[in-house]
Symmetry: C2
Subunit: 263 residues, 2 copies
């Protein structure tokens, strides 16, 4: 530990259980993940610190691998900082990784893609009730995968965005959209350069509706082309959704130290 | 639905999140799983009902597949009863299965074996903090499996029992004891005809200590033979432990409708 505090840019890998939060982003009222971490950094450094998160998740959504950056002034090393933050933070937020980044590194602006996962279980569950959507599926994995295929590539996702969302630009490039089974849990993995508010949850609900309704890929293609929010189904519940990791030039996917906690 | 209530024996498959309970068994004070289910049955049938559970789990322990039996008087079919119970029960207890059993069926007395699972993650986790023990392991899976081997077979498990536990007979027959990795989660599966209070948690902690200390199987063999509680390590935390399922003559493993919710 050097004796003089130093000003540097930290990148953090963050896991959180979204159950007790009003989402990631600081709100006028209510507990948020960003707020908790900024509060802990204030205690550690004695100064106001603003952190930038790669993905702004809704209330109730979880993260196995959110990435955030901040400029801080401290004499702590990254690893000491990580331990000190975890000692101050409540148990539902854990810093899984801390490293020094380029001074200009910004977790949101420099992210090339984000990976989200959505979990579904077919019957009521006590152990997973806050961590997956209980929804019996009347179609198989291959039907869901076929229905999802038209989402791949660059499209205007206006129909899958939230009314009153703040996105002026609703064009996203989806590079992966894949349904799979793990035991009796169904999971949906999606990667895109960017996501609109509630987009993953609307993609999940609309794909299931299209596959079960028989329209499949054709219905999804029409939903995209409609450019009308009424073409998509109401969003699937927030508590099935996980921000898994974020990709950056040079780094690849972060955080590297992610624990495999999500089915 | 017949018009006249009928008296019959129901067997229930039960999943619960143990976080908010003082364990399975009704206590003088505090919320218990047995208490919640008996309360719901009282509301449904208008009478006091006593349910017998196959495994009496400690406070904080979970169950993916507890089995219980009760004699009830109702005009509901087993499946209607299941749905009615789930409508009355809080979300952290779910009836995953209900079926009519032989009038004399008793979930505890007639169980031939119980299967428990224990989960360990190597680093602090927000998402699994209430569902696994955070414990970095300094040995590999094969070291743990070698150390555990002397537990297989019939032994007096006094050293692994709780001081003041109510078991007069401390002999158990272990038919499976297996460590494995699933992603970065380490799991321990154990099957025996019966378990003493805190036995699985003491087996977990003592096996890890023996493997890490280098004594391995020899240390575990000596711990068994010591017939002295000081030979075992303090129990691993309750929140890593799951009652997975219970085996009966004729039925095989129950519940059949178990959801795969535990890594």
């Amino acid at each position: 530990m050097s004796s003089e505090p130093r000003t540097w840019t930290v990148r953090l890998g963050i896991e959180f259980d979204g159950t007790g939060f009003r989402g990631w982003q600081v709100q006028p009222t209510g507990r948020t993940v960003q707020g908790e971490i900024e509060g802990a950094l204030r205690k550690l450094t004695g100064a106001d610190v603003r952190i930038a998160g790669a993905g702004r998740t809704d209330a109730g959504c979880h993260a196995a691998g959110q990435v955030a950056s901040a400029v801080i002034t401290t004499r702590l090393s990254p690893e000491r900082l990580r331990m000190a933050l975890n000692a101050l933070l409540p148990g539902d937020v854990r810093i899984v990784e801390a490293a020094e980044a380029d001074p200009e590194f910004h977790a949101r602006f420099h992210a090339m893609s984000r990976a989200y996962r959505y979990l579904i279980v077919p019957r009521p569950t006590a152990l997973r009730r806050l961590f997956a959507w209980v929804r019996p599926l009347r179609v198989g994995i291959e039907d869901l995968n076929r229905a999802t295929r038209p989402l791949l590539g660059t499209h205007d996702f206006l129909a899958f965005s939230k009314q009153g969302g703040d996105a002026r630009d609703t064009v996203c490039t989806v590079t992966r959209a894949r349904w799979s089974n793990r035991g009796r849990v169904t999971r949906f993995d999606i990667v895109a350069d960017r996501f609109l508010y509630t987009m993953v949850r609307r993609v999940v609900s609309t794909t299931i509706r299209a596959a079960e309704g028989g329209g499949g890929a054709r219905t999804i293609r029409e939903s995209l082309q409609a450019l009308d929010r009424r073409a998509a189904a109401p969003p699937a519940p927030a508590h099935g959704l996980y921000l898994m990791r974020v990709r950056y030039p040079g780094f690849g996917w972060l955080p590297k130290e992610r624990i495999d906690v999500v089915a």
